[in-house]
Symmetry: C2
Subunit: 303 residues, 2 copies
């Protein structure tokens, strides 16, 4: 039977056994970076792109996981095979690890670790929103600025995102779009945002995660002639867009059909949005940017 699996303390374990000490700075200082990868119909999507970003995140925090990127690639493949789901989300975490001595809490002396989990594919905004679209609230709560926390270093310091999400829920929304301190659109809790105006596609620049799905949308948009552009965007740009959508690993492309409770366009997922969703999933199914877990494990057997 298919089951969610974790890799903790150098072992593959059922996800219910995947725990960490509440004394680790990994938890008490949220001193951990991560990356989330997906597999669809047996193909792991853009694995090297994710591993590259993961490495860039852990290096930025001076973390040294006890495995090479190639070993991590094998751990990912092993989890996909063992879990036996058709479609999965795999999260890699590089942790600061436990203090050697609780009386001398020096993060430089911690034994850095690696954890990973593999669960059935999930939709960060809810699977039902694939057809209905989301009501996106542009929140007063801002995204942290680059000078404090670099959003490109994928991390669990989500308090700004969570506060924004609570604010969006209070205002009747499904999710939140945060702005930078200077008032431009940045990102939401777990996704990038896109908007279309007069047949052209736009996505924000700034202190935000450079999503792998965002990169994929760039490629698809170019191919369908939607001329994607990365530039500073205002809340007004989103409110007056013809259509809008989010992009993320756990959920692909999701239509935005309302902004701050007001209907966008005709209230249905937009034409460009729908086209991109179709392209994205049909290509994923064909193995676009995909690697099969079996191939990765075969490499090891040969080496």
């Amino acid at each position: 039977m298919a089951e969610s699996i974790a890799f903790v303390d150098n072992e593959f374990v059922p996800i219910t056994e995947a725990k960490i000490s509440i004394m680790e700075p990994t938890f008490t200082k949220s001193d951990v970076v991560y990356d989330t990868i997906s597999s669809y119909r047996g193909y792991i999507f853009r694995l090297d792109d994710h591993l590259e970003r993961f490495e860039s995140s852990f290096r930025a925090m001076q973390l040294n996981p006890p495995y090479s990127l190639d070993e991590i690639r094998h751990i990912v493949a092993e989890m996909v095979i063992r879990s036996d789901f058709d479609n999965t989300c795999i999260t890699l975490m590089a942790t600061r690890g436990p203090f050697i001595d609780l009386a001398n809490r020096d993060i430089r002396k911690c034994k850095n670790g690696l954890m990973a989990v593999c669960v059935p594919y999930y939709w960060v905004l809810g699977e039902d929103k694939q057809t209905t679209g989301v009501n996106m609230v542009i929140t007063d709560n801002q995204r942290v600025p680059l000078e404090a926390i670099d959003a490109k270093v994928k991390n669990f310091n989500w308090m700004d995102l969570t506060r924004a999400l609570l604010e969006a829920y209070d205002k009747g929304g499904d999710s939140a779009m945060l702005c930078t301190p200077d008032g431009y659109l940045s990102e939401g809790p777990g996704f990038n945002v896109w908007l279309a105006k007069n047949g052209k596609l736009y996505t924000p620049l700034g202190n935000l995660l450079e999503g792998v799905t965002r990169r994929s949308v760039f490629e698809l948009a170019k191919e369908i002639g939607a001329d994607p552009v990365e530039k500073p965007l205002t809340p007004e740009d989103l409110r007056t867009a013809d259509e809008a959508f989010t992009s993320t690993t756990a959920g692909g492309i999701t239509p935005v059909t309302q902004v701050d409770g007001k209907t966008l366009g005709n209230g249905a997922p937009g034409i460009l949005t729908t086209r991109l969703m179709e392209e994205y999933w049909s290509r994923r199914e064909e193995g676009w940017h995909g690697t099969r877990a079996e191939e990765i494990l075969q490499d090891r057997d040969v080496a």
Copy 2:
């Protein structure tokens, strides 16, 4: 034998058994608030002040721990008695708790929890620094602004503080002092800062934790005629101070003897600093603002 103790899942357990699932948003979104209390010579310090701040933190994040403040007070007392250390640090954590369903990750449906730990008293800046003082580096890495994350809501989103600490270490310092986005002193990783100039004491205003020890220093400083003032302070104010120190629950008052590697005053802990350190600990020993754990538990037996 004295031992560190935790309270997890409604049970007192040895600290080595205190763990949480790595799937909880408590961890993966650092969706948890906390407070740290100390006991010294059997007296729990300003317990009600800490509980009041803890409540204010969990309410701000719409968290509902499954215990009343009075029950939490008893858990604290029970841990102090059971652990049997002379001096302790007790950390309370209000957690978002596990998702009911990993396929529908809605934080509003999580079962909020309470965890606590009681460990031997420790010094966030190292006990040796009580006599030598610290070399404090004013970092380029800024503190998160209020508009993104409210530092008064005591939380584990420490990435800005950790980045600043790594920067300070790289520059040869012992710890870090972060500034607000508009360039004023804020706080360091786990402590407030104070400086003295011409016999008067100053501490920053802004998006920082209103420390309970900071409040205690206000009281002591007034009593010794040092006229404490809370106001926006610049890095230059700290660099040109006569003396400086930090205040925190886990470490009390710690002298700052260097700023950015340059000696402050004559390089020894300052006169006001030393006076305040002596006052602070001698009063703590006499039970100033203190509650005995036994008394709290007796209340329960009577009730």
